[in-house]
C-alpha cells in the first residue's frame, strides 16, 4: 500500500503494479519524492524507472548512518530525468550486521565509483559490483570513516602527544 502523498505519483504507482513487494514506504517531504525500496527488488525497480520514466541519469549514490538505530544504514540514490525534468530519491535500508545491497551498475554504469565510495566510507557491500575496492582511503585502511561510531579526530593518532 502506497503512503498517502505518493498515491498519485506515477513512478510509485507503476512500481507498485510491477511488484507490490518492491515499495516499503515513502514520503514527499519539501516537494522531493522519496521511495523506500526493498533491497531484493532494487535492481528491477531501477531498470523499470529508467526505461519507463526516463530516469536515464543517476545523479549520485550515498548513504546515511542512523547509528545506533536499526536498520542502521540508508543507502540513498538520486535519480534524474532530463526528459521530464524530474528528480526522485530512492532509499534502501539495511541493518548494521554485514550491510549489503545489490549493485545498480548494471542499470547505470556511473554508479561504479559512487558505490565504491559508500563501500569505502560506510562499509556497505554492493553485491555484483565489478570492482568493489576502496576509492578514497588507502587500500590497507581499517574502519569506515563516515560511520557515526568512527571518531572525527584521530583514529590511531592523538593530537595530545
Amino acid at each position: 500500500m502506497l503512503p498517502e502523498p505518493l498515491r498519485d505519483y506515477a513512478p510509485a504507482v507503476a512500481l507498485e503494479e510491477l511488484n507490490p513487494a518492491a515499495i516499503v514506504g515513502g514520503h514527499a517531504d519539501r516537494g522531493e519524492p522519496t521511495l523506500y525500496l526493498n533491497p531484493d527488488h532494487l535492481v528491477e525497480a531501477c531498470q523499470k524507472l529508467k526505461e519507463r520514466f526516463a530516469f536515464i541519469r543517476l545523479s549520485s549514490v550515498t548513504a546515511v548512518d542512523r547509528h545506533p538505530d536499526e536498520p542502521r544504514f540508508e543507502v540513498v540514490y538520486h535519480l534524474h530525468s532530463l526528459e521530464n525534468n524530474a528528480r526522485l530519491r530512492l532509499k534502501c535500508r539495511v541493518g548494521g550486521q554485514a550491510p549489503s545491497v545489490p549493485s545498480v551498475t548494471s542499470v547505470w554504469t556511473g554508479a561504479n565509483w559512487y558505490e565504491r565510495e559508500v563501500f569505502d566510507l560506510f562499509g556497505v557491500e554492493f553485491r555484483d559490483h565489478p570492482n568493489l575496492r576502496r576509492i578514497m582511503m588507502p587500500d590497507d585502511w581499517e574502519g569506515h570513516p563516515l560511520r557515526k561510531d568512527y571518531p572525527t579526530h584521530g583514529h590511531k593518532y592523538s593530537y595530545k602527544d
Binding site: R30, I56, S59, L82, W108, M136, P138
Partner: protein, 411 residues
Amino acid sequence: MPDLSPELTEEASPAGTEAAETRKRRLTVNMGPQHPSTHGVLRVLIDLDGEVITGAQPDIGYLHTGIEKQCEAINWSQVTTLTDRVDYLANLSNNLVYSLAVEKLIGDIEIPPKAQWMRVLLAELQRISSHLVWLGTHALDIGAMSMLFYCFREREQLLKLFEMFSGQRMMTSYIRIGGLALEPPRGWQRRVKEFVDIFPSRIDEYEALLEHNPIWLQRTRGVGHISLEDMLAEGVTGPMIRAAGLPWDIRKSEPYSSYDKFDFKVATRTANDVYARYQVRMEEMRQSTRIVQQALDGMPEGPWKSDYQHVTLPDREKMKTQMEALIYHFKIVTEGFRVPAGEVYQAIESPRGEIAYYVVSDGTSQPYRVFMRTPSFGNVQSIGTLLKGKLIADSIASMGSMDFVLGDVDR
C-alpha cells in the same frame, strides 16, 4: 580514430610470429599522481599498445580531506567555510548550493531580492574566473603558453573584486545561509561595471590568439570524442554535455536564486570534441558577462540578508540597542541555530557541471549528514571511456577538456 588490428590480440598472435613481436609493444604507463597536466593529484594508469591507449584507470583519493565527516561536527553556519575548500576554483558556487540547501530545509526563510541578485552576479563572476583558469591552463598544457598570462591578467582583476567584498581572494565564504555575509562595499559595483565593460573585448583577444593558431586547432579539433550516451551513463555533466549538443543547464531547467528573471542563452555545440568544449566555455563567458550586466543594471534596493532572526545575525546597530536582537546574536554565535529535521537535495550549475548537496538534518544545530555530489567526480569517472582507443599524445588534451578540480573529486 585508429582501431586495434585483429593480429594484436593474443589469440591471433602465437609466439614467434611478427604479431607476437608487436604484442611486446604493450606497455602500462603510470601518469601521476604528480604530473603538471593533472592540476592536482590524479593518477592514471594507462595501458598502451604502441601509441594507442587500450585502457585507462584513474586512481583518486590523494586529496581526500574528510570534509563530509568534518561537517557533522560543526554548526550549520560554520560549514560554509568548508564548502569553499571543496572546489577551490568555484567556491562561491559551493557557498551558494549549500546555502540554498539549508534554506530549503528551514523552509519559511525569505531571501530578499538584492541578495538573490547579488548571488547570481557572484556565481557568474565565479564562472568567468573558473573558465579563465581552465582556458589558460589548458592552452598551456597543449603548447600555447602565452594564453596563461592573458587569462590570469583578467582573473587577477576578478580576484581583486572578490577580495574587495569579502577580504579573501579565493576562500570567500561570502554567500551565507539567509543572504550574504556583509554588505557589498561602496564603489564595488562600479568596479564590476568596469570589468564587464572591457571583458567582451578580452574574449575577442583570446579567440584571436587561439582560433587562427594551427597548432591549437590541430590539437583540439576532432580530439577527445565520447558519446553522449556514455557521458550520461557515467555521470558527466556541464560543458562536456553541452558540447555534445544537449542543451541541459540547471540554471534553465531548475532555476534557483531568480535565474529565471535573467535573459541568457545556453551555449551548445554539436562537434563533441575538445574544440567544441572550448567554444562552449567561451560562449558561457560571454553569456555570464551578459548576466552580470543585467544584474548590475537591475540591482534591487533593500536589505542584503534575510530578517529571519533565528538564522541571520542582527545588524550591529540593533544588537547594541535592542535586548531581543542581542539574545538572538548570542544564541546564534554560541550554540548555532536549529534546522528542522528533514532532508533535501539541491542542485545548481557550477562552472564544471551539476553540483548537488544532499543535506540531512535531525533537528539539532549541527548537520546530521552533508553529501556533496561534485561535478568533477562524475567527470573523472569517465576518463577510462574517454581515453580508450585514443592516441597517447591526445590524452592530455582530452582529459584537460573536462576541467576537473581534484579537490572537487576527493573532497
